[in-house]
């Protein structure tokens, strides 16, 4: 019996394989499965990579870092709570050699380094790595391969830093505590502590990192001690958040949202196609039942046929997924160094099964429809309403399952679902209103437009289904494109217009004086010069920062480090006040602060909040009195935190400056003089900044392109599916119109008008939904301010109208091929 059913199902499957709706269904299933399988493989790879990194490459059980060195008593207390402490000191500087220069991080270690993990180095660029039990000896320096190449150095060459010569003896390959520095890609150099001390760098410009070996109880003890005694210090430990967690969480938020959007679009397409499939299956079953076959057999045949379809899809899906996974890994390797392609068979099987289960739920309505129907009902097609309702219920069930299981960010999914629900209600209401009013207003006008509106109004139910399908996919497409565009745009905003091509990001007073004399000597213009001190935000209204704001954002990530605090008496020319009031000149109340608008939003700050800032070993409270935003056109250097100049009398901290200079191309080579004297001087050229920015932007652009391509493909399938689902009716309508004596051109015009009206309602709904979703999601989930660009939205509206109408008319060519003869033949 089973083999007979299998043969029948195989026969039926082969017959239907070439049908257009089956082609479309296969496309949707393939796109979705490839996306999910490739994504889950990549995601699992990254998670495994991060966790392995954390366990094996942490270099310590706990790392405490701050700008200053621990005092002797602090060190003694810490030592009492731990098994071993190893100190590393680092500083970002610019190294020069034979006229070339390169920014790099200098790290000084003693013989006790590394604490945990492996220190690996080699004797040449291409040589094999060897394990080193200790870092470089005094008088030696190890450079990483990029730095070595960049400075055109070879092993054995001398390298002068601050007029002291060190010998390059090895190529630095791997430091076990690198991970703690997040995903930074700075070039590196490792030297001995004794040499480092000879340079006499300012103590507050050197990052002191204490690698600590401790058990779990000791870790807890040290955390409590750090919060009480060193609140401004950074502490990372194996049980704590991963340094890449914020970055990855944001990425996962985006990927999660992208997956949910793709699922929703696929659901819309499958739902439209299911209607059509139901009719075909019902007809087949009617024939089988009328020939004496039992209902269970027809359902069994249908199930086997569906399984066959899925089975034959799998080889292609797995092959494409593996290729996509490989491409993704290649693409991510620069960010996650050492990440390698690995295929997780178990995960692949689980993903495929889960996706198949979801497709199966969609199919349930078809099988239920077949099982519950009688021959008479099947022939008269009276069961459709029940099955139609069931198919909608199945679609909703799948979407809810996806929303609950797949998205690990419930709030984000809830927001998207809310926006979708409101969009649906809006599109339903606007379809009804516009078609009803349109029909009423045009009832006394002759022509095709009134007729098209009349027909659409009469077929409101089927038209609304079509409008909803297209509108929702347009909404999801538009929202994704807008989000991707704005993410890219927000990155572009970092590259503000510079009035200078060299930015000094930190210079001490002595360094600044030397820069000024150097500039005068070489006739270089200093465009801007703004002073600041470093402050670490520790508490807001008495609550620890980590407790006050738990939402990941760039601002929060930056506040984990000391930030620049600027002072002034007047609002800077390149700032404007958004809320509150700036202090008066010579105001006696010095405990005031103005905070940048985006920071306020990111951290959830409001006027009147009290910020506790740790400055040069002292905690100082400032109250937020204003929020400001960057105003272009008057210089690019701006600060997140600004206080009254009078506050300086109460704060004793080293002063630094930011500055921008305009150099001629030939003058860049002269910078070596400054760096030789001041290796810790932080300067970056515009070319260098642009290069870094371009790399990141290229990554975002690739995400945009790849994701948009998938969404556009699915949106096109939704439109074609919705046309296909209505094809029989449209064909009948066109044939009837032909039988009234009208030409095919009339039918074509009517189709175009109907699609234009459909597209207009769908696009309006989509834009409304996009605006709403932007309002709900942008700030909350991506820390982006939402400023809808209405010109962009209207342009998109016009493009959607044009494309949907064109695609609708092209896809409707089959329904335009109807004829009176076909009506006679039926």
């Amino acid at each position: 019996m089973f083999s007979q059913n299998l043969t029948l199902a195989w026969h039926f499957y082969r017959q239907q394989r070439q049908h257009r709706h089956q082609h479309l269904l296969r496309w949707v299933q393939t796109i979705l499965m490839v996306f999910i399988v490739a994504l889950s493989q990549t995601s699992a790879g990254i998670q495994a990579y991060l966790s392995q990194n954390l366990n094996n490459l942490l270099g310590a059980d706990l790392v405490l870092s701050q700008l200053q060195a621990l005092t002797e008593s602090q060190h003694t207390e810490l030592a009492a709570m731990s098994q071993q402490i190893v100190l590393t000191r680092s500083l970002t500087t610019t190294l020069t050699h034979n006229g070339t220069w390169q920014q790099a991080t200098l790290k000084a270690v003693a013989a006790d380094y590394p604490l945990h993990g492996e220190l690996r180095s080699s004797t040449s660029l291409t040589g094999s790595e060897t394990l080193s039990s200790a870092g470089p000896a005094a008088g030696e320096i190890w450079l990483d391969s990029r730095l070595l190449t960049s400075l055109s150095l070879r092993i054995g060459d001398p390298l002068a830093i601050a007029n002291q010569k060190l010998t390059v003896t090895r190529v630095l390959q791997h430091e076990p505590d690198r991970l703690m520095e997040g995903h930074n890609v700075n070039m590196r150099a490792l030297m001995h502590s004794l040499d480092f001390e000879r340079f006499n760098f300012a103590a507050d410009s050197v990052q002191h990192r204490y690698l600590i070996a401790a058990n779990q109880a000791q870790i807890k003890q040290i955390i409590a001690w750090q919060q009480a005694h060193l609140p401004a210090a950074q502490l990372q430990h194996k049980q704590g958040a991963h340094p890449l967690a914020l970055f990855w969480q944001r990425t996962e938020n985006f990927i999660g949202l992208a997956s949910v959007i793709l699922f929703f679009m696929a659901a819309i397409a499958i739902q439209q196609l299911t209607q059509l499939q139901m009719r075909k299956e019902q007809f087949f079953s009617a024939v089988c039942l009328s020939l004496g076959t039992s209902k269970s057999t027809t359902v069994q045949v249908s199930v086997i046929k569906w399984l066959l379809g899925l089975l034959f899809l799998l080889p292609a899906v797995l092959l494409i997924s593996a290729l996509c996974h490989w491409a993704l890994i290649q693409w991510l390797t620069p960010t996650f160094a050492g990440l390698s392609w690995q295929w997780n068979f178990r995960l692949a099987a689980q993903t495929v099964l889960a996706t198949a289960a979801m497709f199966c739920v969609f199919q349930l309505s078809v099988w239920a429809g077949l099982y519950r129907a009688s021959v008479a009902q099947l022939i008269h097609n009276t069961q459709r309403k029940l099955s139609h309702g069931l198919s909608l219920a199945c679609a909703v069930l799948v979407l809810l399952a996806v929303a609950v299981a797949y998205s690990d960010n419930g709030l984000l999914t809830a927001m998207l679902l809310t926006a979708m629900a409101i969009t649906i209600v809006f599109m339903l209401a606007s379809s009804w209103l516009l078609l009803s009013i349109g029909e009423k207003l045009t009832s006394n006008i002759s022509g095709l437009l009134p007729f098209a509106l009349y027909m659409m109004r009469q077929r409101l139910l089927s038209k609304t289904t079509q409008i909803l399908g297209i509108g929702l996919s347009a909404f999801l497409l538009l929202f994704s494109l807008m989000l991707l565009k704005d993410l890219g745009g927000s990155m572009q905003a970092y590259q503000r217009q510079h009035d200078g091509n060299l930015l000094v990001s930190q210079a001490s007073s002595a360094q600044m004086a030397d820069i000024a004399s150097w500039a005068t000597q070489h006739n270089v213009a200093i465009r801007q010069h703004k002073p600041f001190i470093y402050a670490k935000l520790t508490r807001v209204n008495g609550r620890h920062l980590a407790d006050f704001s738990q939402k990941p954002s760039d601002s929060l990530a930056t506040f984990n480090q000391p930030v620049r605090l600027h002072w002034n008496d007047d609002v800077p020319d390149n700032n404007r006040i958004i809320a509150g009031q700036w202090w008066q000149h010579g105001d006696s109340n010095w405990q005031q602060v103005a905070v940048e608008q985006e920071v306020m939003t990111d951290l959830g700050l409001k006027l009147g909040d009290r910020l506790s800032l740790f400055i040069a070993g002292h905690s100082i409270d400032l109250v937020i009195v204003a929020s400001h935003a960057y105003k272009p056109g008057a210089g690019s250097i701006t600060f997140w935190l600004q206080m009254p100049a009078t506050a300086l009398k109460h704060i004793a901290a080293p002063h630094y400056a930011m500055a921008s200079l305009e150099l001629a191309n030939a003058q860049f080579a002269l910078l070596g003089e400054l760096w030789q004297v001041h290796p810790s001087l932080r300067m970056v050229s515009l070319q260098e900044m642009t290069q870094r920015f371009d790399t990141t932007l290229a990554m975002v652009t690739q995400v945009i392109s790849g994701f948009s391509a998938l969404i556009i493909m699915l949106a096109a399938i939704v439109i074609v599916s919705s046309v296909h689902a209505q094809e029989a009716r449209e064909k009948q309508k066109n044939s009837i119109i032909l039988s009234f004596g009208f030409s095919r051109a009339t039918c074509l015009k009517l189709t175009a008008i109907e699609w234009l009206a459909t597209a207009a309602i769908a696009a309006t709904g989509a834009i409304m939904g996009t605006w709403l979703a932007g309002l709900l999601i942008y700030q909350s989930q991506f820390s982006l301010p939402y400023h809808p660009d209405f010109i962009w939205l209207l342009t998109t509206l016009a493009i959607i109208l044009l494309l949907v109408t064109a695609l609708g008319v092209v896809a409707a060519k089959h329904s335009l091929a109807g004829s009176v003869r076909q009506l006679m033949a039926e």
């Binding site: 009832s443 006394n444 006008i445 002759s446 022509g447 095709l448 009134p450 007729f451 009349y454 009469q458 077929r459 139910l461 089927s462 009716r729 009948q732 309508k733 044939s735 009837i736 119109i737 032909l738 039988s739 009234f740 004596g741 009208f742 030409s743 009339t746 004829s819 009176v820 003869r821 009506l823 006679m824 033949a825 039926e826």
Partner: protein, 232 residues
């Protein structure tokens, strides 16, 4: 109506054939026919003899393989495609649009022609065919006979000069078929429309003023009660 105002469809030496599995199939050849507005015609014959093809040719929706077709209106000879705006169709399967009510189905051709009083005229026609009480019912809520009444009203509502009907009673019981036939003939007569029907029903065919019957296989058409019109 003056004789010159009466329209006429002329088929001269018309042949129709098609290719099936690389073989030429001849439906009919060298056919000469004249269809006059206000008269009724029935085309009978076995299945596959070419009745529907002949109907398509007469209505100008298809071109013959050979021969000439023309349309005479107000004393002028025009190509047959000028007839397009002057014809209405009635089908065996009724082909009412399922999502529209009877009223909206009948109003459809008028709306398409931009007539402002479409629904009033449609109502009047539905009352005329006895469906005044079923205006707002959808096709699924109407019986077969009622659906065909609505289809007749839809075909005649824009007052075409010719009605082409393909098995108009083929899907109905004897009683309904008789009523529909009565309605169809009387409406066409009343509006002065020419009626051309394809039918297997001898009773229905007998009501027509002219009956053309395909005989001698698929090759010949005979006007009953008269000498053979054309024979190959």
């Amino acid at each position: 109506m003056p004789a010159s105002a009466i329209s006429r469809i002329e088929l001269n030496n018309v042949s129709q054939s098609f290719t099936l599995h690389k073989k030429q199939v001849q439906l009919f050849s060298q056919l000469n026919l004249s269809i006059v507005q206000g008269q009724s015609y029935a085309i009978t014959g076995p299945s596959g003899s070419g009745k529907s093809s002949l109907l398509m040719l007469m209505s100008g929706l298809e071109q013959p393989t050979e021969g000439q077709t023309s349309y005479m209106q107000d004393g002028r000879i025009l190509p047959l495609n000028h007839l397009r705006a002057e014809i209405g169709f009635i089908f065996q399967q009724f082909h009412l649009l399922p999502e529209l009510t009877a009223l909206h189905n009948v109003a459809l051709p008028l709306k398409l022609r931009g007539q402002k009083q479409a629904e009033q005229q449609a109502t009047a026609w539905l009352e005329k065919v006895g469906l005044g009480h079923r205006l707002h019912h959808k096709p699924k809520q109407l019986s077969g006979g009622e659906q065909q009444r609505a289809a007749i009203a839809r075909a005649l509502v824009f007052e075409p000069r010719f009605i082409f009907a393909d098995e108009p009673t083929g899907n109905l019981d004897t009683q309904s078929a008789a009523e529909i036939a009565e309605l169809l003939f009387s409406c066409c007569q009343q509006k002065g429309a020419g009626l051309v029907m394809v039918t297997h029903s001898e009773q229905l065919a007998a009501r027509a003023q002219h009956v053309f019957s395909f005989s001698h296989g698929n090759a010949a058409l005979v006007e009953k009660g008269r000498p053979e019109v054309q024979c190959v």
